[in-house]
Homo-oligomer: 371 residues x 2
């Protein structure tokens, strides 16, 4: 109730934009608004370790390949335009991305597992209001925050995932708890939260997730505005390879602004938004989750590497292309790391928050497609 | 409350077996009991269209290949022993399996889509108390029935799936409704039910799902008995190919007896329990869902057919073998149909309720591995 009081007070500023939604339509799968398509800058040549390719056919993806990578993150793909972002906000994003990459890289350097590094880096992004995960999660159409996350250990194919949790500060940590201390791999809502309590995790109330920015995005969606700028971006994910050569991947998200209650996207679905298998790849996706589920994007990348011997970059490009066949332009992106430390960043949007660390400790972060 | 009254009255007969479960442990992912391993009969030679193979290595799977199949179903794989089943019960199972296959086969003969045939056949199984789906769903550890289902159209890769619904008589029909009338593909619990109401579907109260047999299974699980006979079997699924050559697949389940609230298995997960893609395969799985999620079993079959050119039978065997590597014997089974009407029934348990119809209208149903 505390949150409702505070959010209603804030919401009053935006009351003109509020559309009263009948309760029976809350699960009616109304079309969430998505960012408008933006011009895409052509891919430019990158640094010494980086190669950028145009797509082989159709509209160009941004496909960035980097060698000798031990850890990488994304903070969502979407319509990211320089003109929508103040220099101050851009600095904040780059600083937080850098902090998250460094956190994962240091965990690995300290001898921790890939799983631990993935969790630690995603915790940094979940605790920031900048990204659509944890603290910065977007609102459902019922003005709540429902969070999804998954983590996977490529050495064992162990995995844990949660969906629709509403009182978990760090869903990726609950996913890991489930992976390591449950015989189940995927749990939803109240049941997942009972497991969290059973494991001694602290729960937070919904007001923890309130941010003015996400509230305004919800009001704009209900008011029929179609341009969210950053509203639809911000799912976070990480991939890493540790000293044992074990791959790991994780993803955490608040889903779509104005999503129907109970809608599950690709993030917590093994083989869709998250997958890791030693010898193949570790991958985390971000985008229009429905398309990524239908094409089992991360498992497709893993299968193409395993069965076709494709490079991780080529497989990632093929998987994103498949989502475009189903859903048109601007479906999203994926980060994928293979066992030989080749990283692919592949996306068909105008930007993807992203960063990586190389084996020798170099850290690079980027936002726009043309960087 | 009506259900609780009736079930508690019935439950009193079994009161000695009831273990009081602390509420905080309801989501604690307690290990559900599973059937004990049974002796497996060696595979026997089948009919003219049927070939049965031993597995290539390790313990033998039952791997049955049938040609010229247009429609097939399963009613769960598990520890199925002739000595546990009365002749009367066996007749009931065979009659209901036959009815379900015939329902799907007739829908196709009448020119309906593969999706419609899959839905119609699964409705027959959901409406029967014999199977762990719809009416016959097993109980969670909190003595409720939480149902999961998914359906997929191989022509479009459209899909709809629901998880944790508690008031839906035919979850497969809600999944189809979601596929055809929502931009979302996977919804859970209350949100999925709001969508059902929005689409004008009738909801049922929990007492609809009460059956003495499933209640006894729950009491036995809480009492620590380890042998359920049929308690863990009964997930239902169907695959079909229609007059346009379009593949479709669907799966519906009540999950595991005594499962924690909110636990999601493979059935509603695209690429795990359910997948269909024209040119590749339509498949529905049944078994220890966690393993089938981790190995993305149905997408693995699809990928092996697409990338390796494997037969559907060989791909299904390889996918089930992978679940055994993770989870040992008796992990479950899968039915898979390719675009050339080759059907594979593959399972590593002592039985799988199953049946198929050929293009010329022959209907065959089987239960035990050695049939």
């Amino acid at each position: 109730m505390f949150r409702r009081t505070s959010t209603l007070a804030r919401g009053a500023l935006l009351a003109a934009a509020v559309v009263i939604t009948p309760i029976t339509a809350l699960g009616a799968a109304a079309a969430p608004q998505e960012g408008t398509a933006a011009d895409r800058a052509p891919a430019a040549a990158g640094g010494s370790r980086t190669v950028q390719d145009p797509k082989e056919s159709g509209d160009p993806n941004t496909s960035e390949r980097v060698r000798d990578v031990v850890f990488a993150i994304h903070g969502g793909a979407g319509t990211l335009r320089r003109e929508d972002m103040t220099p101050e906000l851009e600095r904040e994003y780059r600083a937080k991305l850098t902090e998250a990459v460094r956190t994962g890289q240091r965990a690995l350097a300290d001898g921790e597992s890939g799983v631990a590094a993935v969790e630690a880096a995603i915790n940094v992004l979940e605790d920031s209001p900048l990204f659509n995960a944890g603290k910065g999660a977007v609102f459902t159409t019922d003005a709540e925050n429902e969070l999804d996350a998954a983590i996977m250990d490529g050495a064992t194919l162990d995995t844990g995932a949660v969906t629709g949790v509403t009182h978990i500060r760090n869903p990726i940590s609950l996913a890991r708890e489930m992976m390591e201390n449950s015989r189940h791999v995927l749990m939803s809502g109240e049941g997942a939260e009972r497991f969290a309590q059973h494991r001694g995790m602290d729960l937070v109330t919904q007001d923890y997730f309130f941010t003015e920015r996400r509230w305004e995005s919800l009001m704009a969606a209900k008011g029929g505005e179609s341009d969210f700028d950053f509203g639809e971006t911000g799912t976070v994910g990480a991939v890493g390879i540790d000293g044992n050569g074990d791959l790991a991947a994780g993803t955490s998200t608040g889903g779509l602004t104005n999503k129907p209650v109970g809608r599950i996207g690709d993030s917590p679905i093994v083989g869709a938004g998250t997958y890791a298998k030693n010898g193949n790849i570790a991958a985390s996706a971000t985008g229009t989750g429905e398309l990524f589920i239908r094409e089992a994007v991360t498992h497709t990348i893993s299968a193409q590497v395993e069965y076709l011997g494709r490079s991780v970059s080529k497989a990632a490009g093929a998987a994103i292309d498949r989502t475009e066949v189903l859903g048109g332009d601007d479906t999203g992106g994926v980060i994928a790391l293979d066992s030989r430390k080749n990283l692919a960043f592949t996306f068909n949007t105008s930007g993807m928050y992203r960063g990586y660390a190389t084996a020798d400790g170099e850290i690079v972060v980027k936002i726009f497609a043309d960087e």
